[in-house]
């Protein structure tokens, strides 16, 4: 197991290089420098600015300098916001996105999985059918439609929750809900399918024959095995939720890194774009590693070499 983790960690190194190189090339292939403005800058000033940020160096040199800084966890200055370094921006914005993502994930898991179990246990009843219809809806309605709709109902008409921005726990609810619906539904459906598959297995039949209580059968035996396929999508779920926060942050005016990413592309704020993409990538790898480890812990048949 330890060797497995170690190899995975080593694996991140080539990933970082490929992802950063690709991002770097794409970024610099898009015309427009960070200093293009509607009121054109005098040529001399523009030259000065570019020199200050080393933008006049050859591309490979810029890349090298950036990666050297990245390894030492110095992500450079922000070009668009002269008073702030990328480290400061990230330190401020990342916790917001992580909180939103974590809460959304918790919603998705804690609402979705029980819903799936319930549906499986009460298979083919009204509860089952209606839950699955709700789950279908969750997978079909895009967040760009759902978000504004939720604001309209809960914040404006019913006035239960705040309209937008961030600050109190109440502010987290609507955006996290919008963000979680897709995976909530997927968790529900997969849990249900998995539970159904498992209930036909022989050990369950045996447990029932032995006279074990139904709830114990479900929770102890069925669930433990059913959760395995679910945990395989947990990693991509978290990754998708994180990237999906881009849209939700825009709609709800949340000061997270997703909203910032879109603006920084527009600003050609290269250091910010690079740092954000790389950190996203690292997080995805990390989450996938966690999932794989939990996979091994849950299913003793899995052995990593």
């Amino acid at each position: 197991m330890f060797q497995f983790i170690l190899r995975r960690m080593l694996w991140t190194i080539p990933v970082i290089f490929v992802v950063s190189a690709l991002t770097f090339i794409l970024m610099h292939s898009v015309p427009g420098s960070p200093f293009t403005r509607e009121r054109a800058l005098p040529a001399a000033i523009q030259k000065n600015l570019e020199a200050k940020y080393h933008l006049d160096d050859p591309l490979w040199k810029q890349y090298g300098e950036y990666m050297w800084g990245f390894i030492r966890l110095d992500f450079g200055p922000s070009i668009a916001y002269r008073a702030r370094t990328v480290n400061e921006i990230l330190a401020q914005q990342w916790p917001v996105t992580m909180t939103l993502g974590a809460v959304a994930f918790v919603f998705a898991a804690c609402l979705g999985i029980p819903l799936g179990i319930l549906s499986a246990v009460k298979q083919n009843t009204l509860i089952d059918h209606s839950s699955m219809v709700v789950a279908m809806l969750g997978v079909s309605i895009p967040s760009i439609a759902l978000g504004p709709f939720l604001i309209w109902i809960f914040a404006l008409k019913l006035k239960w929750l705040p309209v937008a921005t961030w600050g109190t726990p109440a502010h987290i609810i609507l955006p996290a809900l919008t963000l979680s619906t897709f995976y909530l539904s997927r968790f529900a459906r997969i849990t249900r399918a998995s539970m159904l598959q498992v209930t036909h297995e022989e050990y369950i039949v045996t447990a029932r024959a032995k006279g074990v209580r139904e709830s114990v059968v479900n929770l102890k035996h069925a669930f433990r095995n059913a959760i395995i396929p679910v945990s395989t999508i947990a990693g991509p779920a978290f990754a998708d939720i994180l990237t999906g926060s881009l849209v939700v942050e825009q709609i709800f005016g949340i000061p997270g890194i997703g909203k910032y990413y879109v603006t920084s592309i527009g600003n050609r704020d290269y250091p910010v774009i690079m740092a954000t993409t790389l950190i996203f990538a690292l997080l995805i790898i990390f989450m996938n590693l966690l999932v794989d480890i939990s996979y091994a812990l849950l299913d003793p048949r899995i052995r990593y070499t």
Binding site: P142, I144, A145, P148, Q197, A239, F280, I284
Partner: protein, 320 residues
Amino acid sequence: MVRRKVQSGEQTSDKPRSLGRDAMHRLLKNRAAVAGGAILLVIFLAAVFADFVAPYSITEGNIRNNYAGPSAAHPLGCDFMGRDMLSRLIFGARISLAAGLIGALTAFVIGVTFGLVAGFFGGKTDNIMMRFVDIMYSFPTLLLIILLMVFFKSSFSVSGVAGGGFRGALSDIDRAMGGMFFIFLGIGLTSWLGMARLVRGMVLSVRGKDYVEAARAVGTPRSQILLRHVLPNVLGPAIVAQALQIPGFILYEAFLSFIGLGVNPPTPSWGMMLSEGYVAMRSHFHLVLWPALAISITLFAFNFLGDGVRDAFDPRQTRR
């Protein structure tokens, strides 16, 4: 061949049913899937025959009708330019379905080719290719597609003046298609990874099969083995798997059009209509309602049908 005496009421046939026919039979028994399929068929036909079905053209509109609510002349109301919502929705089906299907096709072609090559040649080639796939898996897809779209859109070449060789030509094609070309390309370039992995896995398993070994022993050239044995077994499940991805691509296009990196106006993509209506949502709800419903219903239908197809091919019947 021994013929068994048939008892009355017993279902028989001389030939064993193929997997395909079996699956079809099961699919047709799944009411939800059939309903989904029917809805999709309606949408598909409407999209193909949009010119005949839609009451107005996509640009026809009187500005004085802007934001008009539903009426006899315009059953779904008008948008901000006074254009008929129903007609734009019908033409919009074309865009969404095209994005879903052609995007899926592009990803399919790239992924299958990649997977075939990697799985078939094996060894070092396979290793390197799969490592590449693993690395690209870590790239957040949304971020990549945004970067790609900004990059593509910047290859704009003004009519009459070449914007620069290859990129300029691509951008001309894109313009001719109302902005769709780059979307297909963007979706295709970011979504082929899963397909590549899947196909490679299948190729590896087929390679190990006896009949392939036999064919090799006999001296059949590799290309023949690929075409006659490997490909047919791989293509079926691959197509099914990719078809299940289509809803995701439709969503991609909607999202890209929503943030302005999608089609060019006046092309009526549902995502574009959503974004046009989103700002007016609180005053003119119908601008957002219809495209939101359209996307949701389409995805809904696709998901039911997709589920049905998946269950139909699954030999282990766990429900009904």
